[in-house]
Each structure stands twice: as structure tokens, then as C-alpha cells.
């Protein structure tokens, strides 16, 4: 909400809030300030990532060394194995990638980058986080109830998810579903805020082409989320009724149809992939321009590719159902659209590489993360083309190849993107610099381990290893010794990767309190968030000194200027 007196629609009472800093509880526990809501999302997301990481640690050790007593966990039973896998997937997508990438960075960056003092609906914003927190509590409770957490995979296909006698988790599956539904409501409210804020609260002079790319990306992602989540909520309500009230929406015995759930789930599930991808690509765009001191190559083209991705993402979802018995003609159409969607994304990656070309590149930690995003995501993207072709998918379906493919997309999105953004905006968030040496140690440890986890899984998948097997020793023809050694390699690499995350956690919390004090603009960047002190005070700028925008966001190395960057708010 801009506090310019010319704005008619402003909430008049909001203007008074600039004059006092809120008290502790109001500031940190029930904040209205978008920056603190972003911190809440960020820390909650990191907290959930610890669970997601712990789950994968437990079930990967079970796969590599079947039957061992996992340190800190104990023996993994088949039911627990299913619950661990399911909740690893759900936590990482719904409670880590979404809250951190979209909610935390969306909340933090949108008002700061467009020169607004806060979100348009601050109270809805607070409500959004509170609902999200409730969803976290419900999810954690679902792991503790009798029977344990839900074990029907994060896609929750019925009949496994609908009937307690199959899933063996009567309470866990219901609570899981409720948690997912609450989480959607939270992001629904958050997304309404993002789009409205970016549309209505931009600083004077900020036209559509002066908006930083990451803000565009978060908005496009939010619109896609809004448009795709409805059918899944409908499906979730129906599944909840099937679980608890004895209806038969997904039960063929009672005239229902289990494929119907896949239909509704993937209508959301595939756009969701691009919902989390786009903010990550936006973050990368911000970072590579700053650290190559060049204007973003093809601003409008990147924007159009993002929109094209958004449009096409509504046409690709049935590629998850190639072996589920869909019409073969439909499979053909979805093969074509799936292969098509790689074009805009590839174009975007090429434009990022073109941005790097001829720039004076500085390999700081955020830049390393941004570059590794491009490299690692490309592996995920290219293998996606194989899986998108229905002929190959029939072989690869439900093998470790699929696992390796989507981890090569999701790990860059959820973790590399987050680490890039955190190391880049950390000075603005906490007013202190992160340690570069520790950051680089963390980077190399993570990236090398990452590839040693998932390249073996590609090999396993190409060998036809099915992904949902608890113990390969139960299937002697599957557990040949050389394949088992690949599983051990992947698991050991995972342990290395997890070990290096402690470097990050130490760096994060140590720098938050002990790091070097950050100047307002440590990276000599042009966008508006760097024109206010680090960290920004309540209201971001002082009310009578709100920024005005004179040019686009990526004016680096402009000829004829002393400085190699030209902030958006400088008149000349």
C-alpha cells in the first residue's frame, strides 16, 4: 500500500502505522510487516526441510543396507518405509519448496522490489501464515497418531489412500489430506496478496517492463497456482468423504472411478512443478545480471517464455497417466505438448547463458548457486523429454529414472534456488553478510554430492529398477550386486550432502548474529530493495521518501557513466 496522498483507495488508518515500531510480540509473533511474515515462512520451511531430510536419510539407509537399525531412527518397517517416502515427498514440495520459494521470497521481495511499504492486505498475509502454521501442526500430528503417517505416496492415489484397510493409516491419511488442504488455503490467500500488490502498489514510474524478473515470475506462478488448485481441492474433498464418510467417489464397487483422482490430482500436480520452477528462474535472473554486470539479455523474451510456460503447463498434465489407461490419442497429444514445453524453458536457459556472455563474472556464492541451477536443471529438463514421450515412458514409468529426473528438477528449484536467493538477499534480510568461505564449502559439498546421488539413480532406472520397493532382497532377480552397489553409492552421497547442510545451518545462524555488518547495497545492484538500509525498517522506506522509478531493473555497465550500475530510483 503506497502512502502517496494521491491514492484514493488507500486504507487511511494504515498511514499512522509508520510512526511507531511495533512491540516485540506484535513484531515477531503476530507481525503484519511483510518482511517478518517472510522470515516466519522461511524459518518454518527450513524447519520442515529438516524433517524431509531426516525421512530421506532413514529410507535411503534402509534401501542401501536392508534391515539395518538406522542410527537415530531404528529399524524401518515396510509401513514406516511407505510413510517416510510419502512424507519426504509431501514435505519437500508442499512444506519446503512452496513456503520458502514462493511465500518467503514472494513476501520479502515483492513489496521491496516494487517500492511499496507493505502488502496490499497485510492482515490476510498474517492469516495466510497462521493457516500455514496450522497445516504444519496437523502434518506433524499425522506422523504421531496410532498407525503412523500416511503412506500412499505424495500423489495419494486411491484406492490405497481412500481405504484404511489398504493404507493401514486410518488417521494418518485423513490428517495428511487436511494438512495439504490447509496449506493450499494458506497459499491461496498469499497468492491473492502477491498478485494484487504487484499490480496495484508499484512505485511511481514502474511500468510493466521495469518490474524485476523475479516479481514477474512469482506473480505468474501465483496465477498458475490459483487456476490449477481448484480441481485438486475438489478431489481432496471427495477423497476425504471417501475416507471418512463411506462415499464411493473413487471406488469402482460403488460406481466411482479411481482414475478420476489422477485426473484431478495431476491437473494441479503438473502446473505445480512450474509454479515452483518459475520463482527459482526469476531468482537466477536477478543474480546472474548482478554478478556478470550485464543487462538481462532479452527481458521481454524471458517474460514471454514464462507466460508460454504457464499456458503450456495446463496442457501437459496427462503425461503422468500414460500407463494409467487413458485414451491413446490423448497420450499422443500430451506427448506433443510435453515435448513442446521444453522449448520455452530451454529458451529461457539460453537467454541466461547469453546474459553471461561477455560479462565480467564474479564467482561469489550466490553466483555459483545460480550457475549451478542452470547446469543441474538442464539435466533434469533434458531427461524430462524422454519421460514425456509416451513410448519411452511406458518403460521408464515408476522406475528410479523418474526419481532421478524429478530430483534433478526439484533439487535445483527447491534447494539450489533457495540457497542462491538466501545467500544473495541475506544481507537485506538480516543486515549482515554471510560468510563466503563457508558458503563455497557448502556449495561444492552439496553440488558434487548431489550428482553422485542421482546419476546412479538414472542408471538404476535405465536398468528397470522399480521405485516403490522396500527391500530388494525380497526380489532376488532385481538385486544384482552391481545394482546394490549403486544404491549404496547414492545413499553414501546423500549422507555427504546432508553433512554439508550443517555447514549451511552454521553459516546461516552464525552470520545472522555475528556476521559482518552489511551496507545498504553490498552487491552494487540496481533494483529498489537495495536503496533502503539493510535490514529495512518498518514500512521499508520513510513515508515521505518512497522510491520513484526512472528506468528498467538491469542497467549495468551503461556506457558513459562512472559507476557500472544505475539504480532504478536515480533521476540521472
Amino acid at each position: 500500500m503506497s502512502s502517496q496522498p494521491t491514492v484514493e483507495h488507500g486504507h487511511e488508518e494504515h498511514g499512522h502505522e509508520h510512526h511507531h515500531e511495533p512491540a516485540f510480540i506484535e513484531k515477531y509473533i503476530f507481525p503484519l510487516d511483510h518482511k517478518y511474515i517472510a522470515m516466519q515462512y522461511l524459518l518454518t520451511g527450513m524447519f520442515m526441510a529438516v524433517f524431509g531430510g531426516f525421512f530421506v536419510y532413514a529410507f535411503r539407509l534402509q534401501l542401501a543396507f536392508p534391515g539395518i537399525s538406522v542410527p537415530l531412527y531404528g529399524t524401518v518397517s515396510p509401513t514406516e518405509y511407505n510413510a517416510l517416502v510419502t512424507n519426504h515427498g509431501s514435505v519437500m514440495i508442499f512444506w519446503v519448496a512452496m513456503p520458502v520459494l514462493i511465500a518467503a521470497f514472494g513476501n520479502f521481495l515483492i513489496p521491496l522490489m516494487i517500492g511499496a511499504d507493505d502488502m496490499v492486505f497485510p492482515k490476510l498475509n498474517r492469516l495466510s501464515y497462521q493457516i500455514f502454521l496450522a497445516s504444519v501442526v496437523v502434518l506433524i500430528v499425522s506422523w504421531l497418531v496410532p498407525g503412523g503417517g500416511f503412506g500412499g505416496a505424495w500423489t495419494a492415489y486411491p484406492p490405497l489412500s481412500a481405504k484404511a484397510q489398504y493404507s493401514l493409516t486410518p488417521l494418518g491419511s485423513t490428517l495428511w489430506l487436511v494438512a495439504v488442504a490447509l496449506e493450499f488455503v494458506a497459499f491461496l490467500i498469499g497468492g491473492i496478496n502477491f498478485i494484487t500488490t504487484a499490480m496495484n502498489s508499484r512505485a511511481p514510474g514502474m511500468g510493466a517492463k521495469d518490474v524485476p524478473m523475479v516479481v514477474w515470475m512469482i506473480c505468474i506462478a501465483s496465477i498458475m497456482f490459483m487456476a490449477s488448485v481448484g480441481p485438486l481441492i475438489a478431489g481432496a474433498v471427495m477423497l476425504l468423504f471417501d475416507q471418512n464418510l463411506g462415499t464411493g467417489f473413487f471406488d469402482p464397487d460403488k460406481g466411482g472411478d479411481p482414475i478420476l483422482w489422477q485426473h484431478l490430482f495431476w491437473f494441479f500436480g503438473h502446473p505445480e512443478v512450474y509454479v515452483v520452477l518459475l520463482p527459482a528462474t526469476g531468482i537466477v535472473a536477478e543474480i546472474i545480471t548482478v554478478f556478470s554486470r550485464k543487462k538481462l539479455f532479452g527481458y521481454q523474451t524471458i517474460l514471454y517464455t514464462a507466460i508460454a510456460t504457464g499456458v503450456l503447463s495446463f496442457f501437459v498434465w496427462a503425461h503422468h497417466q500414460f500407463v494409467a489407461g487413458i485414451d491413446p490419442r490423448m497420450a499422443n497429444v500430451f506427448t506433443i505438448t510435453t515435448v513442446l514445453i521444453s522449448i520455452p524453458i530451454a529458451e529461457m536457459m539460453f537467454l541466461y547463458i547469453a546474459t553471461l556472455y561477455g560479462g565480467s563474472i564474479r564467482f561469489t556464492t550466490p553466483m555459483l548457486w545460480a550457475l549451478s541451477f542452470i547446469a543441474e536443471f538442464l539435466i533434469g529438463g533434458v531427461t524430462g523429454i524422454w519421460l514425456g514421450a509416451s513410448g519411452m515412458d511406458i518403460y521408464f514409468h515408476d522406475t528410479y529414472f523418474v526419481i532421478a529426473h524429478f530430483h534433478y528438477t526439484f533439487f535445483p528449484i527447491a534447494f539450489i534456488g533457495t540457497f542462491a536467493a538466501l545467500s544473495f538477499w541475506f544481507p537485506k534480510m538480516f543486515g549482515r553478510m554471510m560468510d563466503e568461505t563457508l558458503g563455497k564449502i557448502h556449495f561444492w559439498g552439496t553440488i558434487i554430492a548431489l550428482n553422485f546421488i542421482f546419476i546412479p539413480l538414472f542408471v538404476l532406472g535405465a536398468a528397470g529398477q522399480h521405485r516403490r520397493i522396500y527391500n530388494y532382497n525380497h526380489y532376488p532377480e532385481l538385486s544384482t550386486p552391481d545394482l546394490q552397489s549403486l544404491r549404496v553409492l547414492a545413499t553414501v552421497s546423500l549422507l555427504v550432502l546432508i553433512a554439508f547442510q550443517f555447514v549451511f545451518l552454521f553459516n546461516f545462524f552464525w552470520s545472522m548474529f555475528r556476521g559482518e555488518k552489511a551496507p545498504a547495497n553490498p552487491w552494487r545492484s540496481t533494483t529498489l530493495e537495495w536503496t533502503t538500509p539493510s535490514p529495512p525498517g518498518h514500512g521499508n522506506w520513510s513515508p515521505n521518501d518512497m522510491p520513484r522509478v526512472y528506468r528498467g531493473p538491469y542497467e549495468y555497465s551503461v556506457p558513459g557513466r562512472d559507476e557500472d550500475y544505475w539504480p532504478q530510483n536515480q533521476p540521472s
Partner: protein
């Protein structure tokens, strides 16, 4: 490297951007987008269930009250039209909008009560939630709409209170009207899909 000709060294001070669509209206529009997709999901599921069952609705269950609901549909549509009239009156004289708003609210309340009575009689006729997939869909879809209608009624009550207190803004009224139009216009589609087909 050539200098960009558009790169003027001194710029005129930028102007405040025009806010084409008020915040609340934009927020409600995005919310309605999600809601439409929610009901699109229900309708799609219903269509698929219909296609995989030979007899639809199943012959051995109580029939849905098609004619009575047609009357009820008219009541709801009328409520929307009256609210639209109230919106036009509000622009010239906010006080004059009070009476049509109350009429619209009463028509909406009539719709919800009528639906409730219908449900009670269907339940007493033996059409339970688990009688058949058709019945399950009927209760879930119509119930979801009823929840929205109740929410919309709550908004209408609040609108009347705000109008009385003189705190109702044109934008807030616009946003609230949009939501009620959504509730109103959605119903004929659901009526056609659930009752008539």
C-alpha cells in the same frame, strides 16, 4: 558499444501509476478464479461418474425435486439482479441502496432455507450421502455451493451493517457484489449439470 538513444540523462519525475482495478476487487476476482476452477473440478468429476454408470441417476432412489428447484433458481437469480440494481443506486445515493440490498439478502436467504428444506425432505425419503455415487455427488456439489451461498449471505449482512454505519466504500461494495454474482451465476450451471442431466 553504441549509446542507447533512449538513454536520456535527465528524466521527468515519474507519475503515480493509475490503479485501474481497486485492490479488493482484484483480490476477489482472483479468488473467484480459484472458486470457478474448484467447481469445474466437481463438474468434471460428476461428468465422468455419469459416463461410467449406465443408469444415471440410479433408478431405485428418490428423484431430485427438479421443478421446485427451478423456482428456487429463479429466486437466486432475482437476488443477483436486485443486488446489481442496488449497486447502481449506490453510485448516486448510498442510502437508496439499503432497501434493494435487504431485498437481495432476503431472496438469498430464501434460497438457502429452501435448499435446506429440500435436503431434509430428501434425507427423510431415504436419499443418504452414501446411497449412491450420484447422491454423494449431489450432496457434495450442492453442499459446496450452499456453503458459498451462506458465506455470501454473511457478506451481504455485513454490507447492510456497514452501509448503516456509513463505512461502506464503493470498492468494498463492488468486490462484495462480484462474489455474490459468482454465487448466483454458478447456481444455474450446477442446476443444469446436477438436476437436469
Amino acid at each position: 558499444m553504441a549509446t542507447d538513444p533512449n538513454l536520456r540523462l535527465v528524466h521527468p519525475p515519474p507519475r503515480q501509476l493509475r490503479r485501474a482495478v481497486p485492490d479488493q476487487v482484484l483480490g476477489v476476482m482472483i479468488f473467484i478464479l480459484t472458486e470457478i476452477m474448484l467447481f469445474a473440478g466437481f463438474i468434471s468429476a460428476f461428468a465422468i461418474a455419469r459416463s461410467s454408470n449406465d443408469a444415471w441417476p440410479p433408478p431405485n432412489q428418490p428423484l431430485l425435486p427438479v421443478q421446485e428447484t427451478a423456482l428456487n433458481t429463479l429466486a437466486l437469480l432475482l437476488s443477483g439482479a436486485v443486488l446489481s440494481y442496488a449497486g447502481r443506486r449506490f453510485a448516486s445515493d448510498p442510502r437508496a441502496a439499503l432497501r434493494p440490498m435487504i431485498v437481495s439478502m432476503l431472496l438469498g436467504a430464501f434460497f438457502v432455507v429452501f435448499q435446506g428444506v429440500e435436503w431434509v425432505s430428501l434425507l427423510s425419503d431415504g436419499l443418504g450421502l452414501t446411497t449412491s455415487t450420484h447422491a454423494s455427488f449431489f450432496y457434495v456439489i450442492v453442499g459446496a455451493h450452499a456453503l458459498h451461498a451462506l458465506g455470501g449471505l454473511g457478506v451481504l449482512v455485513a454490507l447492510v451493517a456497514w452501509l448503516r454505519a456509513g463505512t461502506l466504500t464503493a470498492d468494498g461494495f463492488w468486490a462484495a457484489r462480484l462474489f455474490w454474482y459468482f454465487v448466483v451465476l454458478l447456481w444455474p450451471v450446477l442446476y443444469w449439470q446436477v438436476y437436469l442431466r
